[in-house]
Symmetry: C2
Subunit: 238 residues, 2 copies
Amino acid sequence: MAVDSGRLCGLGVGPGDPELLTLKALRLLRAVPVVAYPAPEHGDSFARSIVAAWIERHQREIAIRFPMRPGPSPVEIYDGAAAALAAELDAGRDVALLCQGDPLFYGSFINVFTRLASRYRVEIVPGVSSLTACAAAAAIPLVSRDDALAVIPATLDEDQIATRLAASDTAAIVKLGRHVVKVRRVLDRLGILNGAVYIEHATLPTQRVAPFACVTPDVAPYFSMVLVARSRKADGRS
Amino acid sequence: MAVDSGRLCGLGVGPGDPELLTLKALRLLRAVPVVAYPAPEHGDSFARSIVAAWIERHQREIAIRFPMRPGPSPVEIYDGAAAALAAELDAGRDVALLCQGDPLFYGSFINVFTRLASRYRVEIVPGVSSLTACAAAAAIPLVSRDDALAVIPATLDEDQIATRLAASDTAAIVKLGRHVVKVRRVLDRLGILNGAVYIEHATLPTQRVAPFACVTPDVAPYFSMVLVARSRKADGRS
């Protein structure tokens, strides 16, 4: 690890509301000469859009683009991104990699981190995750006292989802996308569909909160979540 | 809900580093005439200490104090706190209730929220939780791709902890306190003690990160956590 190489900063920029940026992420963002972020094949990066007001013209920008398939595999994309960032770090320039939500909570940052952490200094700035942002949007207490919480990807199969739901008081089902019908079937089978709340685009102007039972079973956005809270009424009893 | 009554703002102020405050929490904190926070019987409030630099003399402060037992029960304490805050809200004053970490993630805010939410406008500002702060401190990817995450209070009994560990890829064991020996025994029994990492006072100058197997089994601080990450190496493969 060369002392004069740059530092990789994984900056959590929060769930979407630009005001949910932390003071620390803002300070580091403004200090670095290079700003990197994930982006679709064409068009704007969501992570970049959150902090767009703070990026200045003199900062070099590196978009890590994810083309539609067929195209390079995710492994190839992250290998390429790591190489591009390494070139900046080797030249002694600090690089901020923007991460929507938190860098280590389903963040694409993880794929860059595992490739570069052994060779460069890394600073990780935690951010407000979609988990707590969705709870705040729906005004649903996530966990209190002895409650256990499960975060469950909707991409798992029905039995895996059911097992994880059974081992928790509150559950957040993430990565809903194309799995609305399946998740609804699991919750219905377990008799907990009626308490489930659907949250889409939390903290953005397009935010939507609705009973999950009332959501039409089309494709939900990737940034949507279902919260199933079964914790006892919090009144301070322990 | 009287339109001219004040608004209750649950402000997540993050895990401890004052720089992990969000721009939104800072704006609301500076705008309200009344600032409330949990505090021990004697001495300083941890939540207040995080934002102390921003509190101004003209702001009224309400400490929700938790005396050592025997004394008033938690129910009595929260009933009293809710009444004190309601008096301010009824007088038309906005009240910010400071919450270390996130308001809805094991926050004492929940106990005030359940008492006042039906009568007053409430705004909840999510904060950086101890969960992502500890992951960042230890540089441990929490979850990626199809990983499931469990948050498990160490206060549960051994079998409950074991069941919840089995239903997850990554686990965060919170509220460690007097339960170090028990938690270590469970992890040892499951053969996952060696991968477990202990984090204390994440993001504070007193932060400590150590292999959990090397932590002497005394009483850990309340603000400590064990992370057990078993997720596959994140390299972008899906």
